[in-house]
Amino acid sequence: MDKLLNLFTASGIYNISAGQALMIAIGLLLLFLAIRKNFEPLLLVPIGFGGILANIPEAGLALSAVENAVHFAKPEVLGMLAGALGVDSTDPQALLHAYKAASHTLHTAATDVALDAGYNNGMLYNFYLVAIASGAAPLIIFMGVGAMTDFGPLLANPKTLFLGAAAQFGIFATIMGAVALTMTGVMDFSIQDAAAIGIIGGADGPTAIYVASLLAPHLLGAIAVAAYSYMALVPLIQPPIMRLLTTEAERKIKMHQLRHVSKTEKILFPLVLLILVALLLPDAAPLLGMFCFGNLMRECGVVDRLSDTAQNALINIVTIFLGLSVGSKLSADKFLDLETLGILVLGVVAFGIGTACGVLMAKIMNKLAGGNAINPLIGSAGVSAVPMAARVSNKLGLEANPQNFLLMHAMGPNVAGVIGSAVAAGVMIKFVG
């Protein structure tokens, strides 16, 4: 009878909090959006599922050994944790607070206490350590993205790189938005938080996760969910802005066919980019280095089996664990917060500003080029969100003129946007990391 009671008091149904139930519902919503609405399903299926797992009451899948120990709150364990962390109180909240702020050495000491007491890291927490805290997963995915990227359209018209630069203004404007929210007392973001939130405007999933894991790991869940959701919403977010900022005549501009780009140029481009990174912004070296490496494997033509693996088995494996790990940050106590709301609002603003700046830059470039050379619609593709944003440019072009195929022209700014946000990421890591 005792056992039965034990089983019941340890069950989810007895322990579930309103927050956990809500987060499970949010996880199901993400799955619905991914499966039925095709919202970036490769990431949102694992993230949504991981979010549900992270909120299973009493399972502690997303908690570290120390957090699990605090959750079960045996007085003698709490006492030893307080000793290890050097705090006076054995209040669980105070312990968790001290644990989060702890240096590496104190963190290790607390972990030793928890392991000695028989508590373990949850499964998702281990996935998080290996995939994200190590920095490995976003970098490996970036390598795979590099191996999937064709820089041909960019090389045919390198000036489209300016569009990829302009669209990054969304990132930096959003930082100011976060600063403003803090200064008006609505929210409380540090400059690191603000930078990590801004990167949502980069419209590039792995970059956002990488930056958030370095600058603001406690916001990672909300930032990743916002980044991928808005990337999926690009076909809804961008068109009104693009129509507002362009005239019908501009949307009708037909662009010259792109020149043929030789194999040698494609091989040399990742090396040129790498050397520029090496000379100017070492902090972007991990991201752009892996990206260039993937692209070189693709183009060099002598390591096709490695390139194949980087584009398939390896990126798929890493995506599964990255998604589950991001999901682990959707636990109720971390996600259900006013800050998450702020992040979601700021994120969509970032997308909008980036889109607008890309279009405006394209208009300027068109003016400078005589007014009939560059269709401003390709500017919006500079936010990245490859290849969705380029398709949106193409679609609006076709609406204005059924013979106006902008897809290849928009691929240039589109991949430029990936480089641009990785550069922006490097700057932010350098300044506030």
């Binding site: 090389l155 390198p158 000036k159 790189l161 300016f162 990829g164 630069a165 990054q168 203004f169 990132i171 930096f172 404007a173 930082i175 100011m176 976060a178 600063v179 803090t182 200064m183 540090s190 400059i191 603000a194 930078a195 043929h260 780009v261 030789s262 194999k263 040698t264 140029e265 040399l268 481009f269 040129v272 980019l273 520029l276 100017l280 912004l281 430029a416 480089i419 641009g420 550069v423 922006a424 700057v427 932010m428 300044f431 506030v432």
Partner: protein, 82 residues
């Protein structure tokens, strides 16, 4: 607070500036690279791909048949792999 504002402004100005500087240099370097490549190592004509198998295939049947073959094969391969 004030500090946060100045930090944010700094980040915006220098960040955005740096992104432009970097990508401008990239435009320039890429242009130089492409010019050098096309001057000293001009690409041979882009070869029509799979030129070797095409004649063989074409001698063996009409084009329509090949498409069909490839369709069936793709399906079979797909089935095999999934």
């Amino acid at each position: 607070m004030d500090n946060l504002l100045s930090e944010g402004l700094n980040l915006m100005v220098f960040g955005m500036g740096f992104v432009f500087v970097f990508l401008t240099l990239l435009v320039f370097s890429t242009g130089v690279m492409s010019k050098l490549v096309n001057k000293y190592a001009p690409a041979s004509e882009p070869k029509p791909q799979r030129s070797k198998s095409n004649p063989k295939v074409q001698s063996a049947g009409a084009g329509a048949k090949n498409d069909e073959l490839i369709a069936v094969m793709t399906a079979a391969v797909h089935k095999y792999r999934s």
